[in-house]
Symmetry: C2
Subunit: 130 residues, 2 copies
Amino acid sequence: MNKELVIIGVVRSSIKDLSTAPKMEDAPGAVQATIEIDPLYAEGLDSMQAGAQLELLTWLHQAERDVLKVHPRGDKKRPLRGVFTTRSPFRPNPVGLHRVTLVSIKGTTLTIEPLEVLDGTPVIDIKPKP
Amino acid sequence: MNKELVIIGVVRSSIKDLSTAPKMEDAPGAVQATIEIDPLYAEGLDSMQAGAQLELLTWLHQAERDVLKVHPRGDKKRPLRGVFTTRSPFRPNPVGLHRVTLVSIKGTTLTIEPLEVLDGTPVIDIKPKP
């Protein structure tokens, strides 16, 4: 099977700069953001309702993929550890996983919160929280 | 950026048959399973410890990718709805997201539970639960 991801939408956010972006969704700085879903995938939103608790999967397109150890939260005073024991965006497959609330939905535009990723981040999936 | 996923490992499970596989990890039938991580990515496991609560991301390689509406849990009596309001494996990017406990780790072999995916399912990421 083809392992190439398709981009189903894009994040629109006031967070524009990687150097000042918050590190996790619970950090100060996560904001309300919108997701513009590609109309090609509009049918997949059928029955989606405001208030839903969602798991949003993004593709952290500015992350490095050949890093296997990191200092947690980029803090050089903390010892290096395997990326699979951290939520660093640097990892072989930089998939971001975010718990968000759907504030509203209008057509293929979803307003969600909180989200800490950069404006322009590709969206690859949306799932209801189990 | 390249959007091709790399396979970091594979699930080894007693679940061999899609037709009888459980639908969700909390369904009867989810089992203890092992993950064999490719030695190429062994360093990414550094500091991983038994007992960890993990989020495992898999690539549901037998799923159909061109489906945008499904009957929830395959029950034809339930009306069709958008795949993004369900956790169906049928979706544009069939990434499986599983909460598991790390029972033990020995080298690059992780024993985890519970997991409902088929033997041979590719693994694409492991993250600590936030």
